[in-house]
């Protein structure tokens, strides 16, 4: 019942290990972001700057395009994640709950965009976007990101939906619910942890995507944060302090967002539902 001391110790040792592994490079980034230029590259490395400085943050926030790109990134990532999730919820439900001819084929088809090397598709994709008149628009990037986020969302949601007992859906159908009603009133609420996980990961994927953004968003009105990071690099020089500061600005809000959302990972979602 109550956990023994030994297992608590074990849990904390593991937790500390995971935290260390995940945080170490991140802490290094943070330390670098408050170092002065000359402390960045030293032999041996300096652990903590003698004179921590917020200069890099000031530069990033007030002298670069990062704030504007942050907004663009928000719009595009929310758009792409929202759209992907919306479309994927239906697709995943179709795959999870129905049998139909060629299902395996369609399921693999969803992956196809990721099976072709980026290098191969980027040029024709550009042509496609141009044909649609979507180069340098939010919608263009949002659409292109479907190639990346849909496979993730469809495949993961399919497996989450499968773990919801079918009887619950049957009960709702008997209660007079339509298929869509079942999906939105029964299946989705019970898949909230899965939705959150997919949401966070799709969001972050698009948030950090570089190559497509670089190619399809050439105007600063739609450029995203990763391009902002690249802009701290000139031909033979990179403003590492600024890059690190900007990375912190990119990273921390999402981690905090996730911290607030992880509460929705509620265990035993389906407890008490069925017998068997």
């Amino acid at each position: 019942m109550r956990r023994s001391k030994a297992s608590f110790v074990l849990i904390y040792v593991c937790a500390a290990l995971v935290a260390a592994v995940c945080l170490f490079p991140f802490l290094w980034m943070w330390v670098s972001s408050i170092k002065e230029l000359r402390e960045l590259y030293t032999i041996p490395p300096v652990w903590f700057p003698a004179m921590p400085t917020l200069e890099n943050y000031r530069a990033v926030l007030f002298e670069s395009n990062v704030p504007r790109y942050f907004l663009n990134s928000l719009i595009i990532s929310f758009g792409a994640t929202g759209l992907a999730l919306f479309i994927a919820i239906f697709a995943a439900y179709g795959f999870a709950r129905f049998k139909f001819r060629g299902k395996t084929f369609y399921q693999s088809f969803v992956l196809i965009g990721q099976l072709l090397p980026t290098a191969a598709i980027i040029v024709p994709l550009f042509v496609t976007l141009r044909t649609l008149g979507l180069v340098n628009t939010y919608l263009g990037l949002i659409l292109v990101y479907m190639i990346i986020t849909l496979p993730l969302a469809v495949w993961m949601l399919t497996s989450y939906f499968r773990s919801i007992p079918v009887e619950l859906e049957e009960a709702a159908i008997i209660d007079g619910s339509s298929r869509i009603g079942v999906l939105f009133r029964i299946t989705l609420p019970l898949s909230i942890p899965g939705i959150i996980a997919v949401l966070v990961y799709s969001f972050v994927t698009t948030w950090n995507e570089f190559i497509f953004a670089l190619t399809f968003a050439t105007d600063s009105s739609v450029k995203t944060l990763p391009i902002g990071l690249a802009e701290f690099t000139t031909e033979f020089n990179t403003d590492w302090g600024a890059v690190m500061a900007a990375s912190m600005i990119m990273t921390v809000p999402i981690a905090v967002l996730f911290l607030s959302m992880q509460r929705m990972f509620v265990g035993g979602m389906t407890a008490g539902a069925t017998k068997g």
Binding site: G94, Y106, A120, L143, M156, V204, N208
Partner: protein, 286 residues
């Protein structure tokens, strides 16, 4: 049946969006692979050229190592972490959001930070090892033929195992509690529970995650390209980087397309087999 199945109807929007985006690229790549720069049909010339290149088999073997190493470790570490994150202990919420950080850090920045930390001279890792005297000489993590690929894999694992943990964690939430209770009464300890209840129950999630990881690893460029560009001496050259180089460094789009087609075919076969096998097992066990 003349009627379109409701399942397909549900999937239709996704399929349409993807078709719209991907149809032209697929055709275009196919076409490029059998033509030359002037657009003349050249048959299988391009294929012969890329297959004849000495780097192709090297890249192929490296790709296998890279994908195998990355995915296996990601899945194992990620699942273990998920199980940890599902235990109740004070600070769990914080740890959960710490665990997403590697994924949140922009790929290029992460790669360069790791490269920096692994650097023979500047690197904090060597410093941490040499300062207390664990090793005498700094290790050339990224220059030693024995360590460079493992280092790349380690970075990739670091970047992506959080993906596995969060996805599996979400899957763990829908495991009925009474199964654990039954297992406990049946006399199982934590490991038995994990093996006989947790893992089988999240199997579908792990299957899906693994598939995605394989595809991502197969198509992953950022980490290696930013750090070693496939070097030294092609030790970390993987096929997608070879394609990337062909296309964007050498401007050999036709050869790049040919290699892409080959790569695509190989990957498609792997994926098809994987889906067939896993869904067959799913039908049986769910």
């Amino acid at each position: 049946m003349g009627r379109i199945s409701p399942g397909l109807l549900f999937a239709l929007p996704a399929l349409i969006v993807l078709t719209m985006l991907i149809a032209y690229p697929v055709m275009y790549t196919g076409l490029l692979s059998v033509t030359d720069q002037q657009g003349n049909f050249v048959g299988i010339d391009n294929f012969q050229r890329v297959l004849g290149a000495r780097t192709t088999p090297i890249a192929f073997t490296n790709t296998l190592w890279w994908v195998g190493g990355s995915v296996v470790l990601q899945v194992i570490l990620g699942t273990a972490t998920a199980i940890l994150l599902n235990e109740k202990f004070p600070g769990r919420g914080i740890l959960r959001s710490i665990a997403v950080i590697p994924w949140v850090v922009p790929g290029i920045v992460a790669a360069l930070t790791w490269a920096w930390m692994f650097h023979t001279e500047f690197g904090i890792i060597n410093y941490m090892l040499t300062a207390p005297g664990v090793i005498d000489e700094p290790i050339g993590w990224l220059t030693n033929p024995d360590t460079v690929m493992p280092a790349m894999i380690a970075i990739n694992v670091w970047k992506l195992f959080p993906f596995v943990s969060i996805m599996v964690l979400a899957g763990l939430q829908s495991i009925p509690k009474d199964l654990y209770e039954a297992a406990r009464v049946d006399g199982s300890n934590f490991l038995d529970e994990t093996w006989h209840v947790t893992l089988p129950q999240v199997r579908p999630v792990i299957v899906a995650v693994t598939l995605l990881l394989v595809i991502w690893a197969l198509n992953h460029i950022t980490t290696i390209y930013a750090i070693t560009r496939g070097g030294p001496a092609n030790l970390t050259l993987i096929t997608p980087i070879q394609i990337f180089r062909l296309a964007f460094e050498s401007v050999q789009f036709n050869q790049a397309a040919a290699l892409s087609v080959l790569f695509f075919a190989a990957v498609m076969v792997i994926v098809a087999i994987y889906i067939k096998v896993s869904s067959a097992r799913e039908e049986k066990a769910l």
